[in-house]
């Protein structure tokens, strides 16, 4: 017996008698002798709750989190404020502990949440069809590639280099299984190279992918990319245009629906979910009406019960693995229901005006931050495209290691200035990606400028470059 099991000696006696065996060992008789472990698992002994808590606290203290430093680190996940109502709602037994709603009569709470979430994502993206979530951003991009494969049977995936490196890598890994070829289109001046984009897309292209804003923080001309891709679709109206969107700026940026995008996916972490060292979060997945039967994941639909009451059920289940098996639109079973709940609660908390105000605030502060940093000695803009919440600068230091040392110096002063782009882009060895959220005030940005300037100066003094700015 442990704190979670309850078989007393009396219970055991009665149960064994009912079953008709002498001991628990008899129940494991089908396991052949040769594969029996025959020894205890080589793991430490169990500990009391307070000791486990102490150990987890000790591990937590050895991490420098957004609580401990002033952070401008983004690159795919962002330190937005998570309202207290989300902690409270996600902690409720009725949301935290049930299973997927296979018995809809007793799952109306969860099913209605999915329906509301789908509505919210539909509104956010301007696309009529949304599912109830997928795992996260990069795998959502991979799922869009699978949708395209099933929809048009073509073999080529054209991917802008502006996509998050994890999205690009995920598509490449999955494409091996899909039997598809991945072609990358470079950036020019910070955005997807329009000529190269049109050149790469042909009649065998299943889908074309861009990210908005792209990984360098630049705002792409999504409508132009969409139109150009469709113009290259020799087979006519079959190519799937996929946009991977940061949801937060969608109060100010043109929506996927407004730009002719067929499938909009993205990372949902910023909508009410914690950083959690990378997960769990959720991915959103929305599309035009034409793709409703090709959507991966769960979808909740509205209906009535036998007495005429309004209710909700999982619908279009014939797409899914438990029915269509090898021909399913995906293999998803468990997805991210609780994190999607956080998402719809967050969007409802922000509200119609709040989403727009937040977007405008980020727009202004990000511009201010870029001006403030590029005014520093040894810091220049990597590109001058419009930005809304993240921007890239280059530092006059020696390669990506120089940038890492600058970051270390800033960290010692309690500031995390951002992401070293040289870790993923060979053509930007001294790049730094800086992210803004509503938690980073003007005063914080001013402090960043101060600390960064000092760190760059110290680095240049310690390890001077050849003189040419990278």
């Amino acid at each position: 017996m442990t704190q979670y099991t309850a078989t007393t000696p009396d219970d055991l006696r009665e149960m064994l008698e009912e079953i008709g065996v002498a001991s628990i060992d008899d129940l494991f008789a089908p396991i052949p002798e040769a594969v029996r472990l025959g020894r205890p698992l080589d793991l430490p002994a169990g500990q009391t709750e307070q000791d486990v808590y102490g150990h987890l606290l000790d591990l937590a203290r050895r991490n420098v989190s957004a609580e401990d430093e002033l952070t401008f680190l983004g690159a795919g996940m962002y330190d937005h404020y998570v309202p207290a109502v989300i902690d409270m709602l996600l902690g409720r037994s009725e949301f935290l502990t049930p299973y997927t709603p296979y018995q809809p009569e007793i799952s109306q709470g969860g099913l209605q949440v999915m329906f509301e979430y789908q509505t919210a994502i539909s509104e956010l993206t301007g696309l009529p069809v949304s599912n109830a979530s997928v795992y996260e951003g990069p795998s959502a991009v991979g799922a869009a590639a699978y949708l395209a494969k099933l929809a048009n049977g073509r073999k080529r995936l054209v991917v802008s280099a502006g996509l998050h490196p994890h999205s690009r890598q995920t598509v490449e890994t999955l494409a091996v299984g899909y039997g598809m070829e991945v072609v990358e289109v470079p950036l020019a001046g910070g955005v997807t190279d329009a000529a190269a984009w049109a050149e790469a897309i042909d009649g065998d292209t299943a889908a074309a992918f861009f990210q908005q804003p792209n990984f360098l923080g630049a705002i792409e001309d999504a409508a132009a990319l969409s139109a150009a891709a469709k113009a290259e679709d020799a087979g006519g109206d079959k190519l799937v245009v996929v946009g991977s969107y940061d949801p937060i700026p969608l109060g100010v940026l043109a929506s996927p629906g407004e730009c002719g995008v067929d499938v909009a996916v993205g990372e949902g972490q910023t909508l009410g979910n914690r950083l959690d060292f990378g997960g769990p979060s959720f991915g959103f997945f929305a599309a035009t009406e034409a793709y409703i039967r090709r959507m991966p994941g769960r979808i909740a639909g509205e209906t009535k019960d036998v007495d005429g009451r309004r209710g909700f059920v999982l619908t279009l289940q014939t797409r899914e693995q438990h029915i269509r098996r090898e021909k399913a639109t995906s293999n998803i079973c468990t997805s991210q229901a609780l994190n999607a709940l956080a998402g719809v609660v967050y969007l409802s908390w922000l509200g119609r005006d709040g989403l727009v105000e937040l977007g405008e605030l980020l727009l202004q502060r990000t511009a201010y931050a870029r001006d403030a940093l590029t005014a520093l000695d040894g810091v220049s803009a990597l590109h001058d495209q419009p930005v809304v919440r993240e921007f890239a600068v280059t530092l006059d230091v020696d390669g990506v290691d120089g940038v890492k040392r600058v970051i270390d110096r800033c960290a010692a002063a309690g500031v995390n200035p951002g992401f070293a782009l040289g870790r993923v882009y060979d053509e930007h060895p001294t790049g730094l990606l800086v992210a803004i959220t509503e938690q980073r005030t003007k005063a914080h940005i001013d402090r960043l400028a101060l600390i960064l300037e000092a760190a760059v100066a110290a680095e240049r003094a310690a390890a001077p470059t050849s003189g040419a700015t990278a």
């Binding site: 099991t5 330190d79 119609r352």
Partner: protein, 528 residues
């Protein structure tokens, strides 16, 4: 009474109390409906009013410029998100939550899902800012606590499965399956072999064949013998060198431990194929046997089944994998390494690995789930994990024995064998023939008794299947109450099968028109 019977104060049942038969609660007219049934159903989009808000936007504290975003990049039509105050938001979602049955509230014997208790300590530790507010791209030198946690979890999971090389990256069980098949492909191709087929038993969970297609292979089904195990003769005819892998779970979805597992492993390895373990049923065997020792090359775990990550109404989950030495070069990136130095161990994340299959998702996986699973393993330790599996198997066999008693057993016989491991499958076709109610009707009537029904109509091999998995965290009293409820429903059906056919009566809604929802899908709120 369950939260869904006529009880405004939302009291929960003491399972030791004998319930009054619910016959008298039938039928329900609009006047007699429960408060929850009478409640008007409105989405958050139908509430609120213009101008209401919960979010207070910080003031713009920087000089405002109006030239930042060209018009053609700007949004034209605003999203029609709700406009509600915080109290409205809270009341809406709290009331919505009450329309859910959940594991904290009652018994959830869903076969194949392992609905075991979710310890609350886990919520406290995942909320610690050092874990919750840690950025995934934080410099590893400033995330040593997280990396050590992940490393320790990997070692513990590796010990449980008997395979040393672990990746925590996949986001769910089926994601782990996909990883396993892509690893298999990489392994074969690296040896210059191009195979096209994957074997799965006909009792397999739907995610198995769906994953096979996504990994670019063709499904070949292997039959089940009369004892519920893999049909070895059928396997022998199908095991060729075009087979890349055999996907199995042991015990399987019938709850039966296949005693021929070593012979199966030998056959699979004799043609150079990999043997994949679907870890959905790992809860049956911890501390007793290990898939690595049975001969499996690749294993996936479901942290949301065996290791208490709460199900959340459909996720999040986590599906780590463990592999043998020969498969380890292909593991997804990054991997966690440990170096022992004079100052103590140092942990690192290694991205660049030549033979890695790459990435299946962003960053390093669902860390929030790792924290919970790690806390669980620390709490239970070696003995506690073994106790969990032994109690799971004990509870399943006890419940099975109770359901074999007269009044139940003759209508719901066990589909295969005599006993079971942690779950068992009953065949509802006798009940259908003799009492005129189907497995579906039994499930719906169980809702009125305050229990979540078992899994229904899976595995496909059994007609009118009922797959029951009580897990180790239920008391004998609960198991007895469940068996009593089944007996009561069958007695009632003998008398009047119409009652179960029109159940449930006391839930927030009654049977729903799923066909209508599929024919004319309405999947978002229409806006005024």
């Amino acid at each position: 009474m369950s939260p869904h019977t006529i009880d405004e104060n939302h009291l929960h049942a003491d399972p030791g109390i004998e319930h009054e038969p619910l016959h008298h609660a039938v039928p329900i007219s609009a006047a007699g409906a429960t408060p929850m049934q009478r409640a008007k159903v409105e989405t958050i989009f139908e509430k609120g009013a213009a101008g209401r808000r919960a979010f207070q936007c910080p003031a713009t504290d920087v000089p405002v410029r109006d030239d930042l975003l060209p018009e053609h990049l700007r949004r034209r039509e605003q999203p029609r998100l709700p406009q509600v105050s915080e109290p409205e938001l809270v009341r809406h979602y709290v009331n919505l939550s009450k329309r859910n049955f959940d594991l904290d509230s009652g018994f959830y014997p869903l076969g194949s899902c392992t609905m075991k208790h979710n310890p609350r300590l886990h919520e406290r530790v995942t909320a610690l800012p050092g874990h919750a507010r840690l950025h995934p791209l934080q410099d590893p030198s400033r995330a040593q606590g997280a990396l050590e946690l992940m490393h320790n979890l990997e070692r513990a999971l590796g010990e449980v499965a008997g395979l040393p090389h672990v990746s925590l990256q996949p986001s769910a069980g089926s994601h782990g399956e996909l990883a396993g098949l892509l690893l298999t492909r990489a392994y074969h191709e690296d040896r210059g072999e191009h195979r096209h087929k994957i074997l799965t038993p006909d009792t397999a969970h739907g995610t198995n064949p769906a994953t096979v297609t996504m990994a670019g292979y063709e499904v070949v089904k292997v039959g089940t013998n009369d004892d519920g195990g893999v049909d070895i003769e059928d396997l022998k005819t199908k095991i060729t060198d075009d087979i890349a892998c055999l996907m199995l779970t042991n015990p399987n979805t019938l709850g039966i431990f296949d005693p021929n597992i070593q012979e199966i492993a030998k056959l699979v390895h004799s043609v150079g194929a990999t043997l994949y373990y679907d870890g959905a049923n790992l809860n049956a065997v911890m501390g007793r046997t290990r898939p690595g020792d049975m001969g499996f090359d690749i294993v996936h775990y479901n942290l949301h089944k065996t290791f208490t990550q709460p199900h959340g109404g459909g996720g999040p989950g986590s599906g780590p994998i463990a592999v043998s030495d020969r498969i380890s070069p292909y593991l997804p990136s990054p991997v966690i390494t440990r170096r022992d130095t004079a100052e103590g161990p140092v942990f690192d994340l290694v991205e660049d690995r030549e033979k890695s299959i790459g990435k299946l998702r962003g960053f390093q996986g669902n860390y929030g789930c790792f924290v919970r699973s790690y806390a669980y393993i620390c709490s239970l330790g070696s003995e506690g994990l073994q106790d969990a599996s032994e109690t799971a198997v004990l509870n399943a066999n006890y419940l099975l024995a109770r359901l074999k008693r007269e009044g139940i057993g003759e209508y719901l016989p066990l589909a295969f064998g005599e006993r079971c491991m942690h779950e068992f499958v009953l065949d509802g076709s006798v009940m259908k023939k003799e009492l005129g109610i189907r497995t579906l009707d039994l499930a719906k009537r169980l809702l009125d008794h305050g229990f979540h029904p078992p899994t229904v109509y899976f595995p496909l091999l059994v007609d009118e299947a009922l797959l029951v998995e009580p897990t180790e965290t239920e008391t004998k009293e609960t198991l007895d109450a469940f068996a009593d409820a089944i007996a009561a429903i069958l007695r009632e059906a003998k008398d009047d099968p119409e009652i179960a056919r029109n159940a449930p009566y006391t839930t927030p809604v009654r049977r729903l028109d799923e066909a209508g929802a599929a024919k004319r899908p309405v999947i978002r709120q229409a806006m005024a």
